[in-house]
Symmetry: C2
Subunit: 148 residues, 2 copies
DNA sequence: CAAGATTGAATTTTCAATCTTT
DNA sequence: AAAGATTGAAAATTCAATCTTG
């Protein structure tokens, strides 16, 4: 019997913990690497993808923003030469966002700030079993829905 | 020894789980109660406060938005007669946001959607021990910093 | 005409400057 | 002059309409 109270408490803590870490990441990334958390995540997805490239719609889906929103974020990063757009000749409807070498370098610096923040927040306050619990519970949430 | 990998994994899951639940809450609240998650939270803080009122700066702090941002959110809710502003005679610098009776009624409806969403996400997928673990781990994150 | 991306307009939020009260 | 709140301008995001290609 899961009480409403324990549901509300768990959610509130999840929500606050997320805000706490997100805000710390955003602040440090902007101060130390000159990019926002969203921009970092965008570059990180590209870095992890084959040929360091992803299509616009796929990238928007992973970042949980709208296609229109992504167009603007990409505009800003292209402006800074951290990514490029590539419209392949074979299918000129498609646009790939591609991480450049300069983007890769920026991401490396950003990633180091990023990990330091995680160590200073999650790492400092939680032990390994708690990290496992946090990660495990969160992962279950993300499983596809299986019936009623 | 907490590995970077387990830190990254825990954070990613926390982040995604938060987005998953937030988006579900926002969608259902807007469809069923006609308010956003932020507006719900604002009214919920007021409902829980003595005399159903809080000062602007305190409310902004709890909602994790800027004072300027709060002014606009409050404007919108005043417009809909769910809250009122009160400038006490004793100190005319201060503004209280006060939940109205209509706001209380709206909040009751919203809260029921809210809890249903939590049951359908956190509740359906996680057992009580996992909820405890999630809540407990997240709570530790929120403890004030105690030195290096 | 559907898929994929972009655009203009509208909305929401922040930032810095300002106004009012103490 | 500082505290508390609001404002105009700017930035970021969404939405719906549009443009381009298949």
């Amino acid at each position: 019997v899961t009480t409403t109270k324990s549901l509300l408490l768990a959610w509130r803590n999840l929500y606050l913990a997320n805000a706490f870490v997100s805000e710390a990441l955003n602040a440090r990334l902007q101060a130390e690497a000159g990019c926002t958390l969203l921009e970092h995540d965008l570059m990180a997805w590209l870095a992890a993808a084959p040929e360091r490239r992803l299509r616009m719609l796929e990238l928007a889906r992973r970042l949980r923003i709208t296609p229109g929103g992504l167009t603007r974020v990409v505009d800003r990063l292209v402006e800074r030469t951290w990514i490029e757009r590539d419209r392949p000749e074979s299918n000129r409807r498609i646009v790939y966002a591609v991480l450049t070498d300069r983007g890769t370098a920026t991401l490396a610096a950003a990633r180091s700030s990023y990990v330091r923040v995680l160590r200073g927040t999650l790492g400092k306050r939680l032990g390994d079993p708690e990290l496992q619990a946090l990660g495990g519970a969160a992962e279950k949430l993300l499983q596809p829905d299986i019936g009623s």
